[in-house]
């Protein structure tokens, strides 16, 4: 068990936590957060795999991961804006999962 194994296993746990949040969280903003957790966990796993050669992380995975981090931010910005727009129209949770107290705000 070396340092790389520990990082890769915790990265696996992070992806699992993200999947759990993506499936279980009711508030949509928390799902965006969980989506980011899945992404960064996978990046970390990928980076650890790219470091197996012994001399630091391979630059090609590093470049792909930097690209991925930037695209994840763009996707999150769009997701967050969709969450806010959806919440204003029909509340912060998806309709089929909403708890059964009808909220009378902004129902136009």
């Amino acid at each position: 068990m070396n340092g790389l194994d520990i990082l890769a296993l915790s990265a696996s746990a992070l992806v699992g936590l993200g999947i759990y949040g993506l499936l279980a969280a009711r508030h949509l903003l928390r799902r965006v957060l969980a989506f980011n957790l899945v992404g960064s966990g996978l990046f970390l796993w990928f980076g650890a795999a790219g470091a197996c050669g012994g001399v630091g992380v391979d630059p090609i995975p590093q470049a792909l991961i930097i690209t991925g981090i930037v695209v994840a931010l763009a996707a999150s910005a769009l997701g967050v804006a969709l969450v806010v727009a959806h919440a204003r129209l029909s509340g912060p949770t998806l309709p089929e999962e909403a708890p059964c107290d009808p909220e009378p705000d902004s129902g136009s």
Partner: protein, 315 residues
């Protein structure tokens, strides 16, 4: 031994902060723990020796994503929609999450022997790349098509974001009206930090050629400086369609495509860079990209125009 205990502590902190962000009580606390998590991930990247990724993760993953989530939380709270209904279907979700985590853990130990051929090929090609930092060489020379498409994806995301504006808000300034207490922390930091951010961002781009840094990291620092000035109310966000901002948004992709076309006409292939000109062309592309990335990321985080009633700040 020391390093191993550091790794164990880092792994524990990562998992605890991620757990608090996913399953902890309260949306605001979840966002704060996510920012803490982002800083810890940056630390993990530094531990792996991937300093460029650590810089990108700290600036984008923790910084800009954190601002984005905090701003969204503030917007939802204004509408009284930030109450967190908790989790549902937990058993199913826990099985799904644990299954994926176990599969990834198993895959880690089932990995084949690391391939060193690509590394050797990269090392032998690096002297012709024009830059000394191998990550910059991959991003802007060997795999520059990826980076070109990425810069266009960013633009597409921004256009999609603007599509969410309501008709009445379309001609207004982007985002919500910002209020900063005069003489408060935000107002003073808004004056002090942007010049330093400008300097540091430009340094990161320049240093990215041969050392750690690059267009994405530098552009993000510039975007953060812009955002700070906007949030402190010192610089009003633009409206959709302002010529200067539109030019800044497309400058990077345009320079990139122009360099690619020059390659196609003169050097024998789209985005081909001959060693003699590589450094100059890469610096030109990086400069354009940095300006576009800074503008695009800042506007992505500020959000679509929302100031529907034109009364100048009905809070």
């Amino acid at each position: 031994m020391m390093a191993l205990s550091f790794d164990l502590a880092l792994a524990a902190l990562l998992i605890v902060s991620a757990l608090a962000a996913v399953a902890g009580r309260g949306l605001f606390r979840a966002v704060i723990f996510f920012i803490v998590y982002g800083v810890l991930v940056a630390l993990a990247w530094a531990r792996l020796g991937a300093v460029d990724v650590a810089l990108a993760e700290a600036a984008i993953g923790a910084g800009l994503t954190g601002v984005l989530l905090l701003a969204a939380h503030g917007r939802l709270r204004r509408e009284g929609l930030e109450a967190d209904p908790g989790a549902g279907g937990q058993g199913f979700a826990a099985i799904g999450g644990a299954g994926v985590a176990l599969a990834l853990g198993w895959a880690w130990f089932a990995l084949p022997e690391p391939a060193t051929a690509t590394r050797a090929a990269l090392d032998s090609a690096l002297p012709d790349a024009g830059v000394g930092n191998p990550v910059t060489a991959v991003l802007l020379n060997f795999r520059s098509f990826d980076t070109l498409l990425e810069s266009i994806v960013l633009l597409a995301a921004l256009v999609a974001l603007w599509m969410l504006a309501r008709d009445g808000a379309w001609r207004q300034r982007l985002g919500l009206p910002q209020h900063a207490r005069p003489g408060g922390v935000l107002a003073s930091f808004g004056r002090v930090l942007p010049p330093l951010g400008l300097l540091f961002g430009a340094f990161l781009v320049w240093s990215g050629a041969d050392d750690n840094g690059g267009a994405f990291q530098g552009g993000t620092v510039l975007a953060a400086s812009l955002l700070l000035a906007m949030m402190a109310g010192l610089y009003l966000p633009p409206r959709i369609g302002e010529r200067l901002w539109q030019s800044a948004l497309v400058l990077g992709p345009v320079v990139f495509i122009a360099c690619g076309l020059v390659g196609a006409l003169v050097w024998g292939g789209f985005l081909v860079l001959p060693p003699a000109y590589a450094k100059g062309v890469i610096l030109a592309i990086e400069t354009g990209l940095t300006i576009s990335i800074a503008a695009t990321l800042a506007l992505l985080v500020i959000g679509p125009p929302e100031q529907a009633h034109n009364s100048g700040g009905a809070a």
